[in-house]
Symmetry: C2
Subunit: 227 residues, 2 copies
Amino acid sequence: MLFHIDAHRGRKVAGRIRQKNEQLILSAAEEEFARHGYKGATVNGIAQRAGLPKANVHYYFNSKLELYAAVLSGIIELWDGTLNELHADDDPAAVLPAYIAAKMRFSREYPLASRIFAIEMINGAPNLEGYFNDEYREWFRGRTEVFRAWAEQGKIVPIDPAHLIFLLWSSTQHYADFACQINASLGKESLTEQDYEAATRTLTQVVLRGIGVDVPRPVAGTVAREA
Amino acid sequence: MLFHIDAHRGRKVAGRIRQKNEQLILSAAEEEFARHGYKGATVNGIAQRAGLPKANVHYYFNSKLELYAAVLSGIIELWDGTLNELHADDDPAAVLPAYIAAKMRFSREYPLASRIFAIEMINGAPNLEGYFNDEYREWFRGRTEVFRAWAEQGKIVPIDPAHLIFLLWSSTQHYADFACQINASLGKESLTEQDYEAATRTLTQVVLRGIGVDVPRPVAGTVAREA
DNA sequence: GTCTATATGGGGATAGAC
DNA sequence: GTCTATCCCCATATAGAC
C-alpha cells in the first residue's frame, strides 16, 4: 500500500512494467498449470519460466491460488460465446460446420487453456464454485432448445440435444487435451495444418450426416482429393 | 526383510492380509489420484481413506510414485482390448453399437480410471514413457485398417479412420472425465441409468448414421417410448 | 506385520535491504 | 518496484519400538 512520489511519469512507466510482467507471469503460469496441475505447478517454476525471481510473482499476485484464479478467469472468458452463435432460425448446414471449425481452431490455438479447464473439470471444478449455477443451467437449456427447434422444423432428425452438444464439445476439445495420445497414434511430433483440416472435415461430415443434414461441398480453397 | 516363524499358517494369513490391504490402498489411491492429480494427492490422504496409518502405505508400496505406477498399470490393463473386438469382416451395424456401449459402460463403471488416464494424457504422459512406442503405433494403424476395409467394401462411407476413432474415444470418455460439467448442465447430482441409455443411444445414432450405416432398431428389452 | 515418532526436503509466503 | 535471504509448514520417507 505505498504511494509513489512522482505520480505522472512514475505511474506511466510503472504501469507499463506491471502490465508486461503480469502478462509474462500469466503466460508462464498457464504453461505450468497445464503441464502439472494446480498442486503440481510451483511458484518457483512459474517464476523461472517468466524469467523473474520468485518474490516478484508474489508481488504481482498475492498468492498462488490468486494467480491460478486469474489464469482460470481468463480461460472462462474465452470459453463461452461460441455456442451462442447458434439460433433456431439458422440453417444447421451452415452454422454447425462453422461452430465445429471454431471449436477446433480453439483447441489448436489455446491448447493450454483447454487443458487447464479439463483438469479443473476432472477434479470436480473445486475452483469454479460460482460458475455452474442456475444461470448456467438456464443457458444450457436455452442452447438445447435451438436443436429441438431445428428438429421440429425438420432441419435435423429428432435427437437428444444435450448429448449432441456433449458430443460436439468432447470431440473437439479432445484434440487439445489428448494431443499426446493423438500424436503418438499418428506417429507425429505434432499435428500439421492439414491434420487439423482432416480432423475438422471428418468431424463435420460425421455429425452433419449423423443428424440428417446434407454434407455441404467442401469450402472453396480446401484441398479435396489432391493427396 | 523378516521371516516368520510359523510358516504354513502364518504365511497364509499374512498373504491374505497383504492382499486385502494392498487392494484397500490401491482403491483409496485411485480415488485420491483421480480427485487431486498425482502431486495433489497425499500419502496421508490415501492412508486415511484406506483406514490405515500412513506408514503402512509405505510398507506395501515403497514410494508414492511406485503406488501411482501400480494404479496406472491396472488402468492400462483395463484400457486396451475393446477396440480389438472390431474386424474387417464384421458388420459395422452390429459391432459398432456394441463398442460404443462397452466404452460407455466403462465410463460409468470406472470413472476414476478414466480420469487418472486423462490427467496423465493432459500432462503429456510423463509416467507412460514405454506405452506409446512403435508397437502402439502399429496397433493403432491396424485398427484404422478395419475402418478402411469397411469403407472399401462399401459398408461405411469413405472416412478418415483415425479421426473417427478419436471421435469414438473422446465422446465416450467425456462422460467420465467431464461428469462434473455434464451433471451441472443437466441439473443433476449424477446421471441415472436412463441418462446413460440416452447418451449411448444418441451417440450410436449419430455415429452410425454419420458413416452411412442404417441405424438398427433398438435392441429388444430396451425401453423405447414408455417415458 | 503394525504403528508412533522423527528426519529431511521442498514449497509457499514474507521481511527487509536496495 | 525489485530481489535476496529466511521463515515455517507440510509431505515424503524412514527408524525403531511394539
